[in-house]
């Protein structure tokens, strides 16, 4: 049977019909709303991302491999020197920790005396970074430990210097981490010198956080150290976050504009710890 021009056109009409477009648009809107609200769809997203995890791993394999190669072939002299420094550091830290045991037991005893809630202890899971979000304004990374390794959504993530972010999505074999420098991120902090509590928000810059909620008469100085306050329950208490780089007092404004330099290397992350609270009696 010969195909008439009209029929030839209509052959693909079904694939591109307006009804399909409308249906697809509606489904997308529902998906976006649900993903934004995070109430029904996490499971679907978890399985989809888990199925794409191998692809992601493969794509990032060359970069990660080259990085590993670089560290493996770095000079022997450098390694020896590093070893020396690490030994010294280890010795110092060990001698300091001797006092910590005593303090910890004392602290626990005092808490018991006060009859307050049981103190939370932390467990640490070591993880490697796999991928960095390709979108410039999204400060997200993917790590290689997920719910298969008992990583829980909401756990804090830190490197040896300070807090980096927290886990927002599970991918079973991996998980997605939102960094503290992301625009959508805010972290409850405490200034060590004055025990003043506030909130530091990300501004989309890897080297800067900002505090916008302290009135102009607050006692803050450049160089003050910030730690996590533990309020809000997401971040454990007492981990280092950053130092205050700059305090700007704009005349006529009722709040200070404080910029903070984070301790963690947000731009060049390699190995990280996932910090998870575990109840101890």
């Amino acid at each position: 049977m010969p195909l008439y021009p009209q029929q030839r056109i209509n052959r693909f009409e079904k694939n591109f019909s307006a009804y399909r477009l409308i249906i697809v648009v509606i489904i997308s809107c529902v998906l976006m709303y649900q993903d934004y609200q995070k109430n029904y769809l996490p499971a679907l997203r978890v399985y989809l991302s888990a199925s794409l995890y191998p692809v992601q791993y493969l794509i990032n394999l060359p970069k990660n491999f080259i990085q590993k190669l670089n560290t493996n072939f770095s000079e022997r002299k450098k390694i020896l020197q590093e070893n020396k420094v690490l030994k010294k550091d280890n010795f110092e830290l060990r001698s300091q920790i001797q006092q910590v045991y005593k303090l910890e037991s004392e602290n626990k005893r005092l808490y018991d005396l006060l009859d307050s809630q049981p103190k939370k202890d932390n467990s640490y899971i070591f993880a490697d970074i796999i991928a960095v979000s390709p979108i410039a304004e999204k400060h997200q990374i993917v790590i290689n430990k997920g719910s298969r390794d008992n990583v829980v959504i909401g756990s804090a993530v830190a490197d040896s210097n300070g807090i980096l972010g927290h886990i927002i999505r599970d991918q079973i074999f991996g998980s997605e981490v939102l960094l503290i420098s992301d625009r959508e991120h805010a972290i409850p902090i405490e200034i060590v010198r004055t025990s003043l509590r506030s909130i530091a928000v990300g501004i989309g810059n890897y080297n800067e956080l900002r505090i916008n909620t302290l009135p102009t008469n607050t006692d803050v100085k450049t160089g003050d150290v910030l730690i996590t306050s533990g309020l809000g329950g997401r971040y454990p208490e007492g981990f280092p976050v950053g130092t205050i780089k700059d305090v700007i007092n704009n005349p006529g404004e009722s709040f200070l504009e404080i910029s903070v330099t984070p301790f963690g290397n947000l731009k060049t992350i390699n190995e990280i710890w996932v910090i998870q609270p575990t109840e101890v009696n």
Binding site: S17, V25, M32, I59, V132, P134
Partner: protein
């Protein structure tokens, strides 16, 4: 049947290639300049070879991109479906245009995609205007003639 299978393999390898180009790690210098490869591929096939794709397959490819980039699920899927539909609707006019007019149309389509993305970001509360997105749209339009030739060449190589 064999031919259909080959078509299917060809189009999905093209889509996967575009997704990989979008998310592959590159040096910091190039990191800002990621072209919207998947949008370009979808626009090309919706204009010049409609037998290979449809709205549904385009939508799924967008969903894969959303999950790989960690974005809002459905954002790119929605944008791609709309762009694909528009390109399909105007394909007869676009096909006979000279190259500079095709480039103008591509500029309009890609800008529309960026606008929808801005709108979605605004609704979900993270409105951020990134100048590099628009620079990349400009670069994408400039490289469009080369991109088109390459895809045409690939088509003639792998398809009958």
């Amino acid at each position: 049947m064999n031919n259909q299978l080959r078509n299917l393999f060809f189009i999905w390898s093209m889509i996967l290639l575009s997704i990989i180009l979008t998310v592959i790690p590159v040096p910091d210098l190039l990191d800002q300049y990621r072209l919207p490869w998947l949008k370009m591929t979808v626009i090309f096939f919706s204009i010049f070879n409609i037998s290979l794709i449809g709205i549904i397959s385009v939508w799924f490819s967008g969903l894969i991109l959303d999950i790989m980039t960690g974005g809002l699920m459905g954002e790119n899927a929605l944008i791609l479906a709309v762009l694909s539909y528009l390109s399909y609707r105007f394909r007869f006019q676009i096909r006979v245009y000279p190259m500079w007019q095709i480039m103008l149309i591509v500029l309009m389509l890609l800008s529309l995609g960026e606008l929808i993305s801005l709108w979605i970001n605004g609704v979900s509360g993270t409105m951020s205007f990134n100048i590099y997105d628009w620079i990349n749209v400009g670069i994408a339009v400039l490289v469009w003639p080369i991109f088109m030739r390459v895809l045409e060449k690939m088509q003639s190589l792998f398809l009958e």
